[in-house]
Symmetry: C2
Subunit: 121 residues, 2 copies
Amino acid sequence: MLSSTEHLEVRPITRLFRALGDETRMRIVALLAHGELCVCHLESALDLGQSTASRHLGILKAAGVVDSRRDGTWVYYRLVEQEHETTAQALGVLTAAFGAERALKSDHAKLRKACGPNPCK
Amino acid sequence: MLSSTEHLEVRPITRLFRALGDETRMRIVALLAHGELCVCHLESALDLGQSTASRHLGILKAAGVVDSRRDGTWVYYRLVEQEHETTAQALGVLTAAFGAERALKSDHAKLRKACGPNPCK
DNA sequence: CGCATACATCTGTATATCGTGATACACGGG
DNA sequence: CCCGTGTATCACGATATACAGATGTATGCG
């Protein structure tokens, strides 16, 4: 094994790519590209079971792609700024592409309105 | 499920990310960022078993990340230009990052010399 | 408190993926 | 035409990941 490839730090990059190598998680990122959402938003938007949604969010969080904050009953998830340069650029490509999707943006707005006084479903 | 996320075509993007969500395959892409290499090059550079190398290359090929050409006994692999815009940008981030790695470049040159008159190991 | 809602985690099961060794195929040279 | 080398594929066991259902935890409210 040659030295460069041995020392080349591909782990953080691979970690991001592995986390996003799933359609459900990619869709989650697509929605979060427009701003934070709570779990129930994502459940209904992507037609996910509650446990499935939570698990995928846990995977994204473990990979450092998203972070969460609790607001009363709800837990909001958002994309995380990446420290690693290449990782930041790769995720930036996605957020730029998804951010330009107007249909996504309007759905995101609808979802945001669904929480608050009205419960998520 | 909302309309936008249902129709949003994340599959080609996810396919790329899944293919690269593995350290071995990410290292292969890192080496190929400097130009084509044959399987035996990659085996020795990454210390892979023959069958392991072939399988990972097959996965990358199925995902449309690499393509191959046969030259006599050897099969050379190279990165493929991506049609899909976001996919091209994401892969472009990687090739730019890996392309800037000077140690990688020198190892790549060494590998290239190893084939031809001299066998790969 | 007790209860409802939102979320996380556990459990079991099915499927996918990884690595390795054995085998099959392709090509070039004697 | 056989044989060696390089590559692909198959077969196997080990591990990882997927989803759904059940249970556990946290928060807010009457």
